[in-house]
């Protein structure tokens, strides 16, 4: 897992698995990296091969953490499988999902869950 801070955003990437076996350590590591200047968290899910409810719980916990600061959690380029789980749980409504083209354009618009339509 790789964590970098750019201005007020903490960028988390290279998370291959976000499941019950890894969610706790990911949460702990990210929380420890959140400084006072961090307002938003971006999690790059383009390489995430496995995601389950524990992983989703971690993302919601991070959302709660930065939400107190007026920030958001953005999920960058989630894989189709991750998108399916986000839609199944309706978490796309509380976590910003940014698709590849939007991410490359620097857009921060909330993702349309009906992707591919």
């Amino acid at each position: 897992m790789k964590i970098e801070q750019h201005e007020d955003t903490l960028h988390v990437s290279e998370v291959r698995e976000l499941d019950s076996a890894h969610a706790a350590i990911v949460h702990k590591t990210v929380v420890e990296s959140v400084s006072e200047t961090v307002r938003h968290i971006e999690v790059d899910l383009s390489g995430t091969l496995f995601l389950d409810s524990c992983g989703l719980g971690t993302l919601v916990a991070l959302r709660k953490l930065v939400g107190l600061r007026g920030g958001v959690v953005r999920l960058l380029n989630p894989t189709p499988a991750a998108l399916q789980l986000l839609q199944l749980t309706r978490l796309y409504r509380v976590l910003e999902v940014v698709k590849r083209e939007e991410a490359s354009a620097g857009a921060n618009q909330k993702d349309d869950p009906h992707y591919g339509a």
Binding site: F50, S53, P80, L83, Q84, L85, Q87, R90
Partner: protein, 361 residues
């Protein structure tokens, strides 16, 4: 904490005393309707032929196919699905890579479509067409097909199953199952068909993509509901059909067009439709939503779960728009009911106050 199988709870629920009520006034298709009628309890009329695995040899060779006097040429080229009377060679689809996930648990011929398998749709259709003998050629798990088929007497057809190592083309089947001697009654069956579409809908191929499957199946709803062999399907509102022994919370919302199969349980505030099919024996927990999707038989859809643009069956979830397929790792979201235990907590989620587990249909 009690733990019971969901099957037991469903049986208990369905055994509760309830009486049919008149259907409310019709509404326009696509209109969101809050239903007042939520219980359908009609006598079960069982059909023969589902008594368990049939004792048959591993490979059954095709008997002589009778060619009736005046039989016409194979009609599948001009009008697929219309086969005339006499005999027919019916080829079960083998591997279809574009929709491989549909065949995970059973061959495509047995894939459920609106309460029937694809094969059942075809056999019903062939019976109506006056066909008397069917040579069924199966290459994908023929033993499953044989078990399902039994003796085939329920269709009043003579159905013979032939197991092949690989799927035959129409021409191969025509050659292989036609005798060299023109006087042999096998020389020319009335037609050879591949079950790549639903009867009467050759322009809607089932297995070219998940989207094609979804379109073909959802467009079938009105026709399936009006089929003469359907028992107990009621149109609650215009474009909203529900099968026998289904229990739907009064707080649920049904949006046409949608199909609710038999023995379905739909919890409070759940939303079904538009363009949704909930197959037999499925449970939608409270606040679940199913739209532009098909939920396979015996599937549990958990509280607040949203199934959209998807084909869900057991724990398998396919987005028919993108083709993405996952196994949902958390049973409380989506899971097969035969692997699930129901608890008091789940009972609450379903809006069920008391369930008798002692009554079975």
């Amino acid at each position: 904490m009690r733990a019971h199988s969901i099957g037991g709870s469903l049986h208990g629920l369905m055994a509760e005393s309830c009486s049919p009520k008149p259907a409310p006034a019709c509404s326009e298709p696509g209109e969101s309707v809050h239903t007042g009628l939520r219980q359908v309890f009609l006598p079960v009329v069982a059909k023969a032929g589902f008594t368990g695995p049939a004792e048959r040899p591993a490979v059954i060779r095709l008997p002589a196919l009778e060619r009736e006097a005046g039989a016409t040429d194979p009609p599948e080229k001009s009008n697929p699905g219309s086969v005339g009377s006499g005999s027919i060679v019916l080829i079960c689809p083998g591997a279809r890579p574009a929709v491989h996930a549909l065949a995970q648990s059973a061959p495509l011929a047995l894939t459920p479509i609106l309460g029937k398998s694809l094969l059942e749709h075809w056999l019903d259709h062939l019976t109506d067409e006056g066909v008397r003998r069917v040579c069924l050629v199966a290459s994908d798990r023929p033993e499953h097909v044989r078990t399902w088929l039994g003796d085939g007497v329920r269709w009043e057809l003579k159905v013979e199953l032939i197991a092949e190592a690989g799927e035959l083309t129409i021409e191969e089947a025509r050659v292989k199952y036609s005798a060299n001697d023109p006087s042999d009654p096998r020389a020319k069956p009335n037609g050879v068909l591949v079950m790549d579409f639903l009867p009467g809908a050759p322009t809607r191929p089932l297995f070219r993509s998940y989207a094609g499957w979804f379109m073909a199946v959802t467009r079938r709803m009105p026709q399936a509901a009006s089929a003469p062999d359907r028992i107990g399907v009621r149109e609650l509102h215009s474009g909203v059909w529900a099968g026998l022994h289904s229990r739907i919370s009064p707080d649920a919302e049904l949006r046409a067009p949608c199909w609710i199969g038999e023995k379905v349980l739909i919890g409070p505030r759940a939303i079904v439709g538009p363009d949704a099919i909930v197959e037999d024996g499925t449970v939608l927990a409270a606040d679940a939503e199913v739209a532009n999707s098909i939920v396979g038989p015996g599937t549990y859809v958990g509280e607040f779960t949203e199934v959209k643009n998807s084909l869900a069956s057991g724990s398998t979830l396919i987005n028919w728009q993108t083709g993405s397929c996952i196994q949902v790792p958390d049973a409380f979201l989506l899971s097969p009911l035969d692997q699930r235990v129901i608890t008091d907590r789940a009972d609450h989620a379903l809006g069920v106050q008391r369930i008798s587990f002692d009554h079975h249909l």
